[in-house]
Structures are given as C-alpha cells and as structure tokens.
Amino acid sequence: MELLYFAWVRERVGTGQERIDPPEEVKTVADLVAWLAQRSPGHAEAFAEPERLRAAIDQKFVPLDAPLGRAREVALFPPVTGG
C-alpha cells in the first residue's frame, strides 16, 4: 500500500511517501492511523490526534472510519485550506 502525507503530517513523519504492508487487523483508515503511530517518534507525533486528520483513498476523500478495502494509495493530511 502506498502512503502519502501532506503539510504538517508530512513534516512530522519526515517523509511525504512510504510503502507499507499493514497487518490484516488494520481494516479502516482509523486502524491504519493507530498502527502507523507506532512506527517512529515522528509517526507518533503526526498521528497523535486522529481527529485533526483527514484522508483520501485512491484520490477520493473518505471519512476516517472508511474501510481500506483494496486501497492502493492512502493519503493522510490536515483539513484542506486552498483557494
């Protein structure tokens, strides 16, 4: 699974992109966030407050309780602020 991070999530994790292979019990985006938080101190800092995160699966916005299903690309980021 390809992971993408943007804005301060990217900065805290320390990279904008990584390839991971989560265990079977990681079924939703929220599960993924909790699992990722254990990977490094940077991940822990980025994913400490899941309520501050937003997500996209295969380039579509999804809520954090969305199932990962057959996701190829999952992006995690703060609420958007364009325009």
Binding site: L4, F6, A7, W8, R10, A56, Q59, K60, F61, A75, F77, P78, P79, V80, T81, G82, G83
Partner: protein, 146 residues
Amino acid sequence: MIRVVVTPEPINLATELAAIEANGAGGIASFTGIVRADGGVTELELEHYPGMTEAALTELAEIAAERWSLLGATIVHRVGRMRLGERIVFVGTAAHHRQEALEACAFLIDRLKTGAPFWKRERRGDAAEWVAAKESDDHAAERWGG
C-alpha cells in the same frame, strides 16, 4: 468547456479571461484570490496532492457546469511559493445569463476551499505556519447543498 490548471507559474488574468470569453457566453463572472499581508504575512506557500487536485477541481467544475448550464468553467490554482499581491486562484464561469454565471462562480470558490487537496503555509519573515481550516469556509461550502 472546462479548463482546470494547477501551476507553479503566475496566473495570467488576460489569458484566462480571453479563454473563458471564447465560450461565446453573454455573461462572464470571475473571482480572483490574492495573497494579502494578513497579520504580517510576507509570503505564502501552497502544497497540493498532484493528480487528486486536478481530479477534484475537474469534478467541481463539472458539477457547476451541469447545475447552472454553463458554457464554460475555468479553475486555475497556483501552487508553490507566492509573494504578497500575487494571484492564488482564478475562477471563471461563462453562461447565457448573469445570475447563472455569478452563482456558479460563488459555488466554485466556496467548494474549492473545502473540497480540493491544497494546504497553505504562511511565512512571516523566517517563521512558517500551516494555516488552520476555517469553520466559516465549511459553512460557505455547505450552503450549496448536495
């Protein structure tokens, strides 16, 4: 005709207006967002999600084009670093009647703020800070329903 551009280059207003006028409409509405010196801001930086950004903007433009029977819709969003006074975003709509063009333009800029993957960072001299999302933007986006 739908035109979506995400670019690190300055937005050329004359070019964009000529393109949106070329749709042969009776009314053209536009909105341009510009970097302001809000609370001492000296520079703005825009990060985005390449691929998803263009897809999200195209979908927004298609929704507007159908809902207001537009003859044309243009969204140009700049990314990267911008100085004070530079254009961040241009939205243009072309319709037979003014009401449709104006409403669709307001819809697009409202929805773009909450529905496309952009992140703003404000620079004040050497300090940089990610901009927090505004609740007022959520409300503005929600008033269009759907």
